[in-house]
Symmetry: C2
C-alpha cells in the first residue's frame, strides 16, 4: 500500500514533528515541493513544559498542538500519522506501519529518547518524562502515592511513597525539582493535612560537580541556592548504580529508599533503521556542515538526532535542545527554497549555530538566564523565562491558556490540575 | 484495615462526589460531624460538558476539579480515593478496596451509569460518554477514524469511518450531534482537505416522537430545525435493535453502516451491593420524602441513584440530572445541620424539587432554554446557556479556562484540542 498517491512536484518527506521537523515543514515553499510530514502522534509536543504537566501546573492540552491545525489550508502539504519502521535507501522509500512512501529528499528529525545508559533495572522501574503520556503517568503516580501514603501505617513504607528522587541535574531535573518542592511547600499540606509533610523528601542527583552543566557557573550556583532554600536535597558527584523499584543504589554504598525515581539524566538520538553503522555515532546520525548525511545525498538529519562534528565550537555536536533544532530546520528550509539541492556543496554556506542563551526556572520569582553579554537571576529572569516559553508555545490558544494558568497559580499559590485521569500502573508502563 | 481511625464526632460517610455528593459534603457543618467523602476518582466531573471534551472543544482538565482542592483547609473532613464493594447494613460499615469504614449516617450518591438495556452487543461496540476517560476515548476515536479514512481506498469502508450515529435525542445527544456537525462544517474540511467531507454523516436516533423529551415542544422543534440546518440526519420513532461494530440495525429492517456509535440513550442508577431487592426499583434506591431509604434509618440516597415516588409531580422519580441532585444534597445537609437526625420524621419538611428550567445548546449562537414563565431560543439562549454552565463549573480556574477556550473558538471557528493523547483501542475499551 502506498500511503500517498498524489504527486507532481519533488517530494520532501520529513520524519518527526518536533521543533526541527515542524520548523522545516512550516518554512518549505509549497509551490516548489510536495511536503509530507510524518509523526507517530497527531500533535507537536512542547517538551520544555512537560515538567509542569507532571506537577499539575498545566493541562496536557496546553503544551500540545494539533499538527493538522498548524498546517491547515497549506497546499501540497500532507500529514501522515504513522510510525516509520525503516528507510530503504536504495529504493528511496520509507517503510511505515501504514505503508511505503517514496521520497526525493528525506529529512530525519526523529529527536531523542530517554537514555538509561543500558541499565534495564532503571529502565523498568524509573519514570521518564519525554512525552505527554509519560508526564501524565508521573502526575498520576505522585498523586496515587500520596493517596496511598495516608492509608499506610508502616512509617518506612509511608516515607518511601513520599520520597522523590530526580536523577539528572540539567534544566529538566532542576525545573522538576523546583516544581515538586513548590507542591510540597504550598499545595500538598492542604490536600493531605493528616500527613506529616516533613516526610516528603525531594532528592536531586547530579553526576557531575555542578548543576546545569550547559549554563554558567554563576547560574548553576544560583539554582543550587534556590533549590536548597526550597528544601531540595542536592547530591553532586553522585552516580546512580541501580534502582530496583524500592532502593536507589548510589556509588560508595549510599542508598535512598523510594518508590518514585524520575529519570532525566540523559537522552540519546532516536535512530531509524536503514543507516549503516559507520554513519552513526553515539546514537546520532553523522551529518556534514550542510546537515546532509555523509553517505546519502538525498537524506538529511536535523535536531537531536543529527551529529555535526566539524563545528569547532561544538566538536561533539550541538546541544540536544530546542534551539539548534529550530535553527537547523530553518537553515534547511531556506536552502531548499533557494533552489539549492545540495548536489554540489561548494556554493552553499554551512550551518552555523547561534547560541542565543539558555535559561532555567526554579520556582515562583526564581529563574536563571545566561545570555552572551549578561546573566540574570531572580524575578526579572523569571519573567523573561515565562515570556520566552509563552511565545515559543505553538498556537494562540495554548499561549492564552498557559498564561491564564500561570497568572491564577501565581495568586492562588496553587497547582490546580491534580487529577488522576488515567491511573498509572507500574507494571504496564507502556501507554 | 480500617481506612480512617480518627473519630470524635458522629461520622457521616458520603459515597460519590458528583453533583449530589459534593453538594452535601460542602454544606455539612463540620463542627457537628466528621465527614468522609469517598469516590473512585480524585476529581469531580462536570458531566454536562463532557461532549465538548469529546469534540475537541475543551481540555479534560477544565471540567474536572480535584476533590481535595474543593475541601482543603476544612477540618473534620476526609476524602478517600476508593471503590465501594458493598454496604454491611448490620454492622453499619462499608467495605471498600482499601478497607472497611464504619458510619453513623451513610449517604449514597453514586449517580448513574450508561444503560444499554441489556444489549451486550451494543455495550461492547458502542461508545458511552459518562466519564472523562470515555469522552477522551471518543475524541481519540473520531480523530483516529479520520486518519484512517484518508488512507482507505475502499469507498464503503471510508464512509463507514466517517459516519457517526448518536443514539439518544436527549440534551447529551443533541449537544453532541451539534458539536460534531460544527466539526464537520468548520474544522475537519481544513484538517483533511483530501477527504470529501460530504461522506461524513451524523445521524441522531431518537426512540420517541420528538427530541429533548424533558423540554417543551417548542424547544424540541427549534432544536430539530437547528440540527437539520447544521446537516444532522434525525431519526424519530427509531428504535435501535442491535449494533455489531459495523452495522446499526434499526426496527423495520433499516440499517446504517458505521464504525462510530455513541450511546447516549439512557442511564440507570449505579447501585451498590447491600440493599435488599425490595428496596430497589429500576436500578434506583427507593427513598421516602426525606431522602431516607425505606428500610434503614441511617442510610440516605440522593441524586440519580435515588428514587422518590411519592412526589405527585414526579411520580416516577425526579429527572436524573444535575439540578435535583444539587437540591437533594442541599436539603440533606441543611436538615443534618439543624440537628434533625430523621429519627422522627414528623417534624421535618419533606424534600420538594424546584425545577428552575432546562436548556440545551445546538451550536454557536444556537440554544434553547425553558423557564417557568418564558422560553428562549437563539443567541440570547446561547449566552444564558454559557453563563449558567460557566458559573456551575467547579473552581475559578476551570471557569476562566473554559471561558477563554469558548471565546477563542468563537472567533477562530476552531476546536483546538484535536489531540490523540492516548489512542483508543476498540478491544481494550475499559481504561
Amino acid at each position: 500500500m502506498n500511503i500517498l498517491t498524489i504527486k507532481k512536484l519533488k517530494r520532501i518527506v520529513i520524519i518527526g514533528a518536533g521543533f526541527a521537523g515542524l520548523q522545516v515543514a512550516k518554512k518549505l515553499r509549497r509551490d516548489k515541493f510536495q511536503v509530507v510530514l510524518i509523526d507517530k502522534n497527531n500533535y507537536h509536543t512542547f517538551q520544555p513544559l512537560l515538567y509542569q504537566v507532571a506537577t499539575a501546573g498545566l493541562e496536557p492540552d496546553s503544551i500540545a498542538h494539533s499538527i493538522r491545525n498548524i498546517v491547515k489550508k497549506k497546499k501540497n502539504f500532507f500529514f501522515r500519522l504513522a510510525s516509520v519502521h525503516y528507510i530503504n535507501t536504495n529504493k528511496k522509500e520509507i517503510i511505515t506501519n501504514i505503508g511505503n512512501l517514496s521520497y526525493d529528499y528525506l529529512i530525519v528529525a526523529t529527536g531523542s529518547v530517554t537514555n538509561y545508559f543500558g541499565n534495564k533495572n532503571i529502565e523498568s522501574h524509573a519514570l521518564p518524562m519525554k512525552s505527554i503520556p509519560e508526564a501524565l503517568n508521573l502526575r498520576s503516580l505522585i498523586l496515587q502515592n500520596f493517596e496511598q501514603a495516608i492509608l499506610t501505617k508502616d512509617t518506612q513504607k509511608k516515607k518511601k511513597l513520599m520520597t522523590f528522587v530526580i536523577v539528572g541535574g540539567g534544566p529538566t531535573g532542576v525545573e522538576l525539582a523546583g516544581a515538586l518542592a513548590e507542591m510540597k511547600n504550598y499545595v500538598l499540606p492542604h490536600d493531605y493535612p493528616n500527613l506529616d509533610i516533613q516526610n516528603m523528601e525531594i532528592h536531586l542527583l547530579q553526576a557531575s560537580t555542578r548543576l546545569l552543566d550547559g549554563m554558567s557557573e554563576q547560574s548553576a550556583k544560583q539554582a543550587y541556592k534556590n533549590l536548597e532554600n526550597l528544601g531540595v536535597i542536592i547530591w553532586l558527584n553522585c552516580l546512580v548504580k541501580d534502582y530496583n523499584g524500592d532502593v536507589v543504589f548510589i556509588k560508595e554504598n549510599k542508598k535512598i529508599q523510594t518508590e518514585n525515581v524520575i529519570w532525566t539524566a540523559g537522552v540519546k538520538g532516536a535512530i531509524i533503521k536503514g543507516f549503516l553503522k559507520e554513519d552513526i555515532e553515539g546514537n546520532r546520525i553523522l551529518v556534514n556542515q550542510y546537515l546532509q548525511t555523509i553517505r546519502y545525498k538525498h537524506i538529511f538529519a536535523i535536531g537531536d538526532v543529527a551529529l555535526m562534528k566539524i563545528n569547532r565550537y561544538y566538536p561533539n555536536g550541538h546541544p540536544m535542545t530546542a534551539q539548534p533544532a529550530i535553527q537547523q530546520g530553518n537553515y534547511l528550509a531556506n536552502k531548499f527554497n533557494i533552489n539549492c539541492f545540495f548536489d554540489n556543496n561548494q556554493a552553499i554556506k554551512p550551518f552555523i549555530y547561534k547560541n542565543s542563551g539558555s535559561m532555567a526556572t526554579i520556582g515562583r520569582n526564581k529563574a536563571v538566564c545566561d545570555f552572551s553579554f549578561f546573566k540574570l537571576k531572580g524575578f526579572l529572569a523569571w519573567i523573561i523565562w515565562m515570556f520566552v516559553h509563552l511565545v515559543s508555545l505553538v498556537g494562540f490558544r495554548n499561549r492564552v491558556i498557559a498564561l491564564m494558568n500561570w497568572i491564577i497559580q501565581y495568586f492562588q499559590y496553587n497547582k490546580s490540575v491534580r487529577l488522576i485521569i488515567r491511573p498509572f500502573h507500574k507494571k504496564k508502563k507502556v501507554i
